[in-house]
Symmetry: C2
C-alpha cells in the first residue's frame, strides 16, 4: 500500500510540532516553509533590543528534522522539508502550488500563522516598526541604534528629543516585554557608549487602547505591570488610540502629537492565509473556522492550527500563544494517524499550563491555574520556561550565557547596525 | 593651550589601533567610520561558510572605545566616535566633509582600507560574490545555502550540477581558506540535512592565475596547500584566468565554460580612497605614496596607513595583512605625538612576526622568520593567533566554543538564509 502523503504548510510552533509527531507514523510527510529556519517568536523582542543575536532564536529546520529525515542510503526519508513560498491551494485537485512546483496531498495541515495588522491607521504600515519576523526584529534593532548615532550628531535639541523618543503601540505581553527591555537598554550601561549624549532625555511611551495593560491576564497583574513599568521610567498612555504615524511623529485620537522617530507596532495580528481555491467560513481577523477536531468545516482532510484557526476553549477564543499551537500540532498528528487507520478524529482540548510575561530585569507576572503571582519568581520561571522550549542545546547554552551577561552586568552585548 | 584635533577616518585594524594609541596623548581624537562596528576581516570567510555568526567577528566600536571615551560628568572625553560616511577631504581648509557635517582637523589619519577589484572582467562586478565586508559575507552565506535548497528542488540534472558547482577565483590566503572551509562544509555532516541530495555531486573549483597557490609564501607551502586541497576534493586550475562571469557560469580565457551558480571573487583589491581636494601621487591599485614616516608626500599633517598606503619593507611592498596595519597604527600615533611636542616623526619599520593560513580542519601552513612549516601545528597556531587578536573576551569565548563544536563534530551550527 502506498503511504498517504501529508503536507504541512508553515514551520512555526504548530507546523513543526505536527511534522515531528507524524514523523514515525508511516505517512510520507512534507513540511514547507518560506524560510529555512524556525523562528522562536516569543524572544524576538530580545533581538530587537540588542540582547540576543538572530542566530540564537532562529533554528535551521533541516537541523531539527535531521533525526527524522536522515536514513541509510536505500531508505526513503519519511519526513522531508521544502523551502518554498506557497502561493495557492486547490482543494478539488488536492494540490499545494508553490512558486516552482505543485505538490499533491492526501492530508493537509495549514499552519501559516499570523502577520501584523495595522488597523488601517494611516502611515502605520509604512512608518511603524512591526516585530513579528526575524527580519523585522533586526530592522527595529538597526533603527534603535541608528537613532542613538543620529542623536549624537543632532545639533537641534528638538530633533535630538525626537530621535530619543520611542513609542510602543500595544499593551499586551509583547508591548510590555518590549517596553521593559527597551527602557533598561537605553537607561543602562549604554550611556558609557554615548558619553556626549544625555540618555536621561530618552522618552519611552507605551500606548494602550484599553483601560489597563495585559487585558488577557487577571487585573491584579495588569496593575502590577503598570506600576513596575512606571518605576522603570516608561510613560503609559491608557485608553489612547493612535490615529496616524509619520516618519517624525505619532498622532493620537485626542489630537495630541508626539514627535517620535521610532514607533513600534505590537497592537494587532491577523491570520496569514495562502490563497485558497474555495471560499471558506472565517471568523474575525481572517481566522478560519474549524470543527472541534481542528478539521476545516468544509474539508475533512484539511486541518488548520495555530493563529490561522479560530478555536474556542471553555467558550473563549484562544490567545494565540505558542503552547496552544504546540498542543494543536500534537492533536492534528494524532487525528491524521486515526484517519489513516480508519478511525474518527477526536476533539482538541487545550490544557492551559499558564501564562508568563517579564517586565525587564528581575520582575515578571504569571498565572498558573488559579494562582496569579508577580515579581522575581515569575521572572525566573519565564527564563526557565523559555530556555526549555528553545530548540536545541546550542541555542539554550548561548541564550543562557547571554542572559547571565545581560542581567548580571546590566549591559548589552550585541548592538551592531547590521548591513541590509 | 587648546588640544590639537586628530581625525582618523576608518575603524579597521589600522585606524582603530591609531585611535587607541592616541587616546591618552592629550589630543582631541575623533574616529569616523561608516559602520558602528569593527570587522575582523580575516574571519569573514568563516561567516560565509556558516561557521561563525556575524556578531562573533563584528565588534561595536563604541564598546571598544568605552574605557577611553567614558569620563566623569564634567570631563570631556578625549576620544570620540562618529558614525558617518566621509565624502570629501579638503586639505587646504583642513576639513573632513561627511554626509551631514564638516569636521576640522590639525592632524588627519587616512585608514580607509581597500575594496574588491574585479579586474574589469565582464559580469564579475554584477554576478560574482566578493567577500570583503560583513554584508558581503552574509550575502555569500545566503547564496551557498540557497543553492542547496534549490538543488533539492531541481528536476533537471544539469541544473542541479550547476547549483552544486562553486568556483573560487583567487589562490591567495583568502581563496585557499575559503576553499578548505567550503569543501568541508559541503562534504561534511551537512549531508544529514539533505538526505535527498547526493552531495558527492558538489564540485569546488579554485582558480589561480599564477603557477602556484599562495605566491606570497615560500614555494614549499604552496605545493603542500595544493596537495591538501586536492585531497579534500578541490579541483585546482592553475595559470587560468577568468574572462567572464554570468549568473549561470564562469568562462575562462582558454574558452572553457563551467556551469557554476556561485562564483566567489577573492582575486584582487584596490585602495578605497575618499575624494580628496588635490591630486596625490599614487602607486598601483590606487594606493597613496607616503614618506617612510607614513606622512603623505604632499601633506605633513596627513598620515596614510593600511591598505590605502603604499609602503615598502626591505625593498618589497607590504602584503596588506592585519599586523601591518596594526603596527602602522601604533607608528602614526607615536609620530603625531612627536609632532605635537615639536619633534620630527620617525620612519616606520615593519616587524614581520610571520604568516599563517589554514586549509580546512587540522592542517595549515606558516612561515615565521626563516622557518616554513605545515600541518597540525600551523593550524593550531592559526587558531591561537586569531583568538588572541579578536577584540573582546566575549567574542573570544564564543568563537572558541564555536570552533570546538565545528572542528570536533565536523558540523556547522549556523546556516540560516538570513532575511535581507
Amino acid at each position: 500500500m502506498k503511504s498517504p502523503r501529508v503536507v504541512i504548510v508553515g514551520a512555526g510552533f504548530g507546523g513543526l510540532q505536527a511534522a515531528q509527531s507524524l514523523a514515525n507514523s508511516g505517512a510520507d510527510v512534507l513540511l514547507i516553509d518560506r524560510n529555512n529556519y524556525h523562528t522562536f517568536v516569543p524572544l524576538l523582542y530580545q533581538v530587537a533590543t540588542a540582547q540576543l543575536e538572530p542566530e540564537h532564536i532562529a533554528y535551521p529546520i533541516r537541523k531539527i528534522l535531521r533525526r527524522f529525515s536522515w536514513k541509510r542510503p536505500n531508505q526513503k526519508p519519511k519526513l522531508r522539508f521544502l523551502m518554498a513560498e506557497v502561493e495557492r491551494i486547490d482543494f478539488s485537485a488536492q494540490v499545494v502550488e508553490s512558486d516552482n512546483c505543485a505538490i499533491a496531498y492526501d492530508f493537509l495541515v495549514l499552519a501559516t500563522g499570523s502577520q501584523t495588522q495595522f488597523l488601517e491607521v494611516p502611515g502605520a504600515a509604512t512608518y511603524a516598526f512591526p516585530m513579528r519576523t526575524l527580519e523585522e526584529a533586526v530592522t527595529l534593532r538597526n533603527q534603535i541604534i541608528a537613532c542613538l548615532e543620529q542623536a549624537v550628531q543632532a545639533s537641534d535639541p528638538l530633533q535630538r528629543q525626537q530621535l530619543l523618543t520611542f513609542t510602543i503601540v500595544g499593551g499586551g505581553p509583547t508591548g510590555v516585554e518590549m517596553a521593559g527591555a527597551l527602557v533598561e537598554m537605553l537607561r543602562g550601561k549604554l550611556r558609557w557608549d554615548y558619553p556626549t549624549l544625555d540618555l536621561r532625555q530618552v522618552r519611552l511611551i507605551l500606548v494602550q487602547s484599553g483601560d489597563r495593560l495585559l487585558t488577557d491576564l487577571p487585573k491584579k497583574l495588569g496593575i502590577y505591570t503598570h506600576k513596575r513599568l512606571r518605576q522603570l521610567g516608561v510613560q503609559i498612555y491608557l485608553q489612547t488610540k493612535v490615529s496616524q504615524v509619520t516618519p517624525e511623529s505619532v498622532h493620537f485620537q485626542n489630537n495630541q502629537v508626539v514627535p517620535s522617530a521610532t514607533v513600534i507596532w505590537t497592537a494587532g495580528l491577523e491570520a496569514n492565509s495562502p490563497e485558497i481555491s474555495e471560499d471558506l467560513s472565517s471568523a474575525k481577523k481572517g481566522k478560519l473556522l474549524v470543527q472541534p477536531t481542528l478539521q476545516l468545516l468544509e474539508q475533512h482532510n484539511v486541518y488548520v492550527i495555530g493563529d490561522l484557526a479560530y478555536v474556542e476553549n471553555n467558550g473563549k477564543p484562544l490567545n494565540g500563544v505558542a503552547p496552544e499551537a504546540l498542543q494543536q500540532g500534537v492533536a492534528v498528528a494524532s487525528n491524521i494517524k486515526r484517519q489513516i487507520r480508519g478511525k474518527a478524529p477526536q476533539p482538541f482540548n487545550y490544557f492551559n499550563k499558564g501564562r508568563l510575561a517579564i517586565i525587564g530585569c528581575y520582575s515578571g507576572v504569571g498565572k498558573i491555574g488559579v494562582f496569579a503571582f508577580t515579581g522575581f519568581l515569575a521572572w525566573l520561571m519565564w527564563l526557565g520556561v523559555h530556555l526549555v522550549y528553545l530548540p536545541g542545546w546550542r541555542s539554550r547554552l548561548l541564550v543562557l550565557l547571554t542572559w547571565l551577561y545581560t542581567y548580571l552586568l546590566g549591559d548589552r552585548a550585541v548592538r551592531l547596525i547590521l548591513p541590509r
